[in-house]
């Protein structure tokens, strides 16, 4: 029973239970060491599983127990292991282990570390349930589990009102997506009569339709759209993305783990897991492509203007997720997974590096108050450079391989949506490089803008924080080149086998054959973006201000995040609150309480007073009531 597979999944749960239940007894150190040790073990096991299931090409399903059996619906708790799961296992457990380790240093001031580590482990377990799911219901369990853990961790400093608000926002926005997701699962069950992946894939091409308000809709298409809606929520795609930047209110390790490397990629994973199904609905894939491309572009534009170091990285994350989505949309699932993996490394590296900066500057997050740090924290500086180079797609770094193959696939897909995605992606690539270096230059180079007192405290992070950074840096440096062949290269069929669908038109194959300028365009864009950033933020510092003055409305649009929050406020939140108030004040208080319990209680009390008054104590009153009652009774009786 306690096989490697089971241990890799359930060790984090054990960590959660122990740290959560016995946190007080274990003490802060005990809890963090215990969970970290369990996580490291799980990570090591994951690597061995990667060997078994990805490299050796095996696959298996371990059924733990039956979960529910309702009529024709039967759901098992089962762990499905194949290449896709193995990749995700390495990413999730690897990054999670690094983040656990990092948090020992980062959180060492915090008195509630047992809780923090318990949540982290809970999150990891939920994420593992998600990636090892054998059916949609279990996947949904993990999906909701990571949502819960995300909520708890964003709100970890629950005394901060902004953290409260952010966590609620994350939860509510995700709820919109999850609602769609749940409907999608029901639709799938309606269409296929099963929720297990194998069962669905065995009946592809089925023709079922819904009748809705007189329309006839194809059940599979609609269900896939709804499933994608869930993915949009979890992976912060345009429209349901507003929670992600706010989620940066959580501790930085949380941002690195949940909001960069793992949870937000759940949508991508889900689409890849269901790729055989999505291949049958090209309309939905077109929607995915366009929305992913728009997300990549819009998020990058916003990232250009933000000053909060974590928010810049958050928008960058969103933008990169857009890449993954349009990769899925054009059918390059391997490329999407490839970028997911490399992105996990370099984005976690960037977040943890940013955390290191924040840590060094005594919790300062505003880029305008940084600058000139590179001499004081050289290791962090170097590692941030590596991360940024990978993000910008500079050759030989991880991001170069994955991003290029995505863009090439988009070009090679020869569809309108793919072309659109390519242009958006190229533009986003340029902006990505630009804002990455804007961040680097503003934070580490130039003159120090922080107060002398803060600067005097600036110090390199302890080894326990640097070690995970180094490990991730190795990933950011090497994972692209090393894994290229497995994920998208010649060995991809051997590697993925049947887990990822390949369309009639193999876009990844086509991507290798695109013309030269298309191949070099991303690199060119990245390098020129870096160059421009140097001009604007190091050599000609007046340039950004001048640009802002030249295009004030455009800057405002970017800086205010394309007014999504304002739009939602006006369109949804305020009307909802209004409606809520109406229902509360006039519906609940006045109508239901007023006429229901309160009115009833009041009427009862009044009636009691009346009856007390009748009970005067005079015999002749009582006698009179008896006689009166007699008269009434006789009338009633002789009627």
């Amino acid at each position: 029973m306690l096989s490697t597979e089971v241990l890799a999944v359930f060790l984090p749960l054990l960590g959660f239970v122990l740290a959560g239940a016995l946190g007080r007894r274990l003490g802060a150190h005990g809890a963090e060491y215990l969970t970290t040790a369990l996580m490291l073990t799980a990570a090591a096991l994951s690597i061995s599983l990667f060997g078994t299931y990805a490299l050796d090409g095996q696959h298996t399903t371990i059924t733990l127990m039956s979960w529910m059996s309702v009529g024709p619906l039967s759901v098992d708790w089962a762990l499905r292991f194949d290449a896709l799961t193995a990749v995700m296992l390495v990413v999730v457990n690897g990054v999670s282990a690094m983040v656990h380790l990092y948090s020992i240093g980062y959180m060492h001031h915090d008195p509630h570390r047992p809780r923090f580590f318990a949540y982290l482990s809970l999150f990891t377990f939920a994420m593992l349930m998600l990636v090892t799911a054998d059916n949609l219901i279990q996947l949904f369990f993990g999906w909701e589990g990571v949502g819960l853990a995300s909520y708890l961790l964003i709100n970890f400093w629950y005394k901060k009102p902004s953290a409260n608000a952010a966590s609620m926002k994350a939860f509510l926005v995700n709820r919109v997506g999850d609602f769609g997701f749940a409907l999608g699962i029901m639709g799938i069950y309606f269409a296929f009569g099963t929720v297990s992946f194998d069962g669905i894939f065995n009946q592809l091409g089925i023709e079922t339709s819904f009748k809705l308000f007189g329309w006839t809709l194809d059940a599979v298409t609609l269900s896939c759209l709804l499933l994608f809606m869930g993915a949009m929520g979890k992976s912060a795609q345009l429209g349901l993305h507003t929670w992600l930047p706010d989620a940066m209110e959580g501790p930085t390790p949380v941002s690195a783990l949940i909001h960069a490397a793992t949870m937000v990629t759940a949508g991508v994973f889900m689409l890849c897991r269901l790729s055989p199904l999505f291949e049958t609905v090209p309309e939905v894939l077109a929607v995915v492509t366009i929305l992913g491309a728009l997300t990549a572009f819009v998020a990058a534009t916003i990232g250009l203007t933000q000053f909060d170091i974590k928010r810049v990285i958050a928008y960058s994350t969103m933008s990169q997720l857009g890449y993954m989505f349009f990769a899925v949309g054009v059918g390059a699932y391997g490329a999407a997974m490839f970028h997911l993996m490399t992105h996990a490394f370099f984005k976690a590296l960037l977040f943890l590096g940013a955390g290191s900066v924040i840590h060094a500057l005594s919790d300062e997050q505003d880029l305008r108050n940084m600058g000139g740090l590179w001499k004081k924290i050289p290791v962090t500086w170097a590692l941030m450079w590596i991360g940024s180079l990978a993000l910008a797609g500079v050759p030989l770094f991880a991001g170069y391989y994955s991003k290029d193959i995505i863009l090439e696939s988009a070009w090679a897909s020869h569809s309108a949506a793919g072309q659109f995605a390519w242009y958006m992606g190229i533009a986003a690539a340029f902006m990505t490089a630009f804002y990455s270096w804007r961040l680097l230059l503003m934070a580490f180079h130039g003159q120090p803008r922080a107060s002398a007192e803060v600067m005097s405290h600036v110090h390199e992070s302890p080894f326990v924080m640097l070690l995970p950074l180094l490990v991730l840096a190795v990933g950011a440096l090497g994972s692209g080149a090393y894994a290229y062949d497995w994920f998208v290269g010649e060995g991809r069929f051997e590697f993925w086998r049947t887990t990822l669908a390949v369309g009639e038109h193999d876009v990844i194959h086509a991507a290798h054959d695109v013309t030269g300028w298309v191949k070099h365009m991303p690199t060119l864009m990245g390098v020129s973006g870096i160059f421009l950033a140097f001009i604007a933020y190091l050599w000609v510092p007046k340039l950004p201000g001048a640009l802002v003055r030249m295009f004030p409305s455009l800057h405002a649009l970017f800086y205010r995040k394309w007014l999504f929050d304002e739009l939602y406020n006006a369109l949804c939140i305020r009307p909802a609150l209004c409606l809520g108030r109406v229902f509360w004040q006039s519906g609940d208080v006045r109508l239901i309480d007023g006429l229901g319990p309160n009115k009833f209680a009041e009427a009862t009390k009044n009636a009691a007073d009346e009856l007390h008054a009748a009970q005067s104590g005079y015999v002749y009153h009582y006698a009179f009531v008896v006689v009166f009652g007699l008269a009434a009774l006789l009338i009633w009786l002789t009627w």
Binding site: Y618, Y620, F624, V627, F628, L630, A631, L634, I635, T638
Partner: protein, 215 residues
Amino acid sequence: METFLAYLNEAPGTVLPGLMFYVLAIVLLYAGVMVITARNPVHSVLFLILAFFNAAGLFLLLGAEFIAMLLVIVYVGAVAVLFLFVVMMLDIDFEQLRKGFVRNLPLGLLAGVVLAAQGIMFAISWSFAEGAKEGKGPTVLSSATNTEQIGQVLYTHYMLPFQVAGLVLLVAMIGAIVLTHRGNTGVKRQKVAAQNSRRPADVLKLNSVNPGEGV
């Protein structure tokens, strides 16, 4: 359907008894109303006595002379006289009691009118069950006077209710004693046995007192 009034008209001696009935009934009703409305409580009791007499007259008309005599002896002779004594002995402010009477009169009248209307309604639509008029009680010698007839059944057929009535009276007696009797603790009685059992040795003490020393 036979009505009550028709039944009355068939009673023996058609004209005079009928007339007597109406006279007695009207006086009875008048006396009844006066009992409650008279200002002087002594007058009320006197009207009550008048009502009893008229009721006794009605019983006589029905040929129930024993009950008529009982009514006069027990109610007029004992109960009403007792009432009279009590009313005269108690110092009750009847004016005070009367205040509530006027205030509650409308509602009281309403209930009274309703009940009276119902009474009239059932009286005029009265009917008898089969064999009701002949009576379904125990058989008695019809030639005997009704005092004799009562004597024939009271201790035979009605033995059980009679005994229970005795018990009810016993309860009334116990109740009266329990509620009012107080053992007299201050009474000095002669205790013959105690007196007889007294011996000089118990109560006498001889002291020899030397002269000039005092006791």
